[in-house]
Symmetry: C4
Subunit: 228 residues, 4 copies
């Protein structure tokens, strides 16, 4: 009981934040119908807030968001959580630095995933945000920890906050849910640009040294002081 | 007369539902001008509700929707029904499980139809919703039952709720009109993603076994209890 | 003076109609900035209503529309007419059946024009609206009657209401300005679909006989009685 | 102090104008998240107005705009200026005729930049606005004057108001910030059209003579008298 009292405000804020962040997925046309979801870790607790399953983006509100533990068991909320809850929960259990997770089937990122090809680092924007090529994760069926494990293993061997799950679509992570949404927006944007560049020839790769310098600068300098 | 009294509510609700569902076709840019239509079967009656012909999507309302019998004869409504009414009616006559039909000329799905190529099942989303490749139906001229027959024969040999009518465009079906609209949205989405994936190489196909497992799970588990 | 009194209502209605029709060009993303225009013939008079030059679509209203004679001389309006006025005027002088003209640089239609390739008739929608392939007109410089003459000569040897002016973009005509706008929307739509179909193979052409049957039916049967 | 009194009105107007012009970048989908910026020179002063760093387009207003000198030092405003400020400032220092600068990572223009290929002059619209092919600038790292120098050196050997910075994206300039925004909108539009034209064959180039005539006419005649 005292626990609940402790974190009620956080819950309410987080549920509202997570509900609102879904509108960035529709704004940038990363999702259709109900096929994409955002979650956030409840700071300091083994809990997460996630989209309900099969509910349209127009109908999302703080009240409809679901709170689960980090094994996907519902703690609060009237609706069933996203069918991708197990994957989100696995990421939170194994990557303590992650505060937000996003999954979409955005068109161009999913196209790279369908061929099982990483997106090469041929743009300063990719070096800035992803620190190198955007990696491909294994094919995994829904229903157990396979997807979550594939995400975590792939992200651990990369600086990228995005992984292209083979034949499926991108998952992104961030320090916060907003950071994870930004990575979802950017992975689709660079997937599209590099696809189009590659359709008429071969884009020139950046050198490792340039990638490192761009990544270091962007992660430390960009944006207003105190936020990213 | 007593029949009319019986089903007036259903009519009004259905006409409103069908009118509103057209906004999903414009939201996802599946249609231009007046070139696409949604219909719904009137449950328990040999009747259907369908878009009027040549009326723009901005002007659609419950009042403008047309009610016809399952041979396309107008029962209620001041306007002529869609020029595709015969095809919708044929589907309802021959597929009693179908409660909604949608026709568009959405860009990518129509592009596959123009080449007469089925969309291969290379994404988990295709396995989930379509249960395998999305099939191509025959070329058929408007004016008799050719289009309807082509749709029904093709859908009967497939689990897919969508058929790509050759040189023409997609038709989709569903338990309800909303389900058929969802299939229309998804067929364009996967047609686009697989097109783009195929432009730079060959997407990897899913195995029959994985397709079957994904399809079974999605049809039975996804969404909130009691709805899909 | 008496002439002006006679046709004031027509002027006002037409200027409003033409101003409003430009919103279809932005809705379907056929134009950017100020680069596209609609005009209408004033029925029964050697006059036309056309967009002013270099004015953004947000600022268009009946009052800003310009009335010119059929040689492009301003009869009414405070602003200079579109820089394409001479081409529109030439069409009205030489094609008495035409009541509306539209010019855009819509992406896919202009891409076909840049290669100087007609759009082949591989879709029922192309047969319906265009009655065959969509032809390419000559390269012509702005500044005299070259563009107008190129449009008229090309359209006269075709059933198509659209011509792809080489290295430039599409011009469309219609019985009314609204019909010409519809043709502008449809030429971009089919240019896009056939481009995409052609990127991964060769779309199957329709037979001349099927094209003729589809064209005849669509021109005579489609839509509500009395309008098209 | 007296200086400030002198130019306060100009500041306020310019900050409002620059804030509002960012909405054209989102309207034409040239930018995602916070990745693009507009600046304007303060007429008659060695000052410029520019977007703050890392602030979303929804939150921009006159008050949030930053005023810096032409070495990027903040003169007025509470927020840090765009991380591209040094590049904008370099342009203003070395091109006195320039009153506005825009930077985006718009998809198609950036795709040409990723391959290091200029956009050939195959459309009348390119001749009109850019006066020839749209050139590629060198690869340059952020952090010193390299980007600014690359922009200025490339633009000086061209009539184009746009340069495609290699592996990075387009920068555009204009007499005013609005002109630079127009060039940013048009460079993406023609980058897209020429990309699509080139995907299925080779667009026909315009002759130098035709390019010169189109450019001369558009720069001198187009639009309403007294504005462009």
């Amino acid at each position: 009981m005292s626990l609940a009292a402790d974190i009620t405000d956080t819950f309410e804020e987080l549920r509202d934040t997570v509900a609102r962040l879904h509108s960035e997925l529709t704004r940038y046309e990363l999702v259709i119908w109900t096929a994409g979801n955002v979650s956030a870790r409840v700071p300091g607790h083994d809990l997460m807030v996630i989209k309900p399953s099969g509910v349209s983006y127009d109908e999302l509100s703080a009240d409809t968001m679901v709170v689960t533990d980090l094994h996907g068991e519902v703690v609060r909320g009237d609706l069933a959580p996203s069918s991708d809850t197990a994957a989100h929960a696995y990421v939170y259990r194994h990557m303590p630095e992650v505060g937000g997770v996003v999954h979409t089937h955005s068109t161009y990122a999913t196209a790279w995933a369908a061929r099982g090809e990483p997106i090469p680092c041929v743009l300063t924007m990719i070096a800035d945000e992803f620190g190198g090529e955007i990696p491909v994760g294994p094919f995994a069926l829904i229903g157990d920890d396979s997807i979550g494990r594939g995400i975590v293993e792939t992200l651990r061997s990369s600086r990228s906050p995005a992984v292209l799950m083979r034949n499926h679509g991108p998952f992104t992570v961030g320090r916060t849910a907003k950071d994870a949404v930004k990575a979802a927006v950017m992975v689709e944007d660079v997937a599209r640009t590099v696809h189009i560049a590659s359709a008429l020839g071969k884009p020139e790769p950046l050198s490792e040294e340039d990638i490192d310098r761009l990544y270091a600068r962007y992660q430390n300098v960009y944006g207003q002081q105190g936020e990213k």
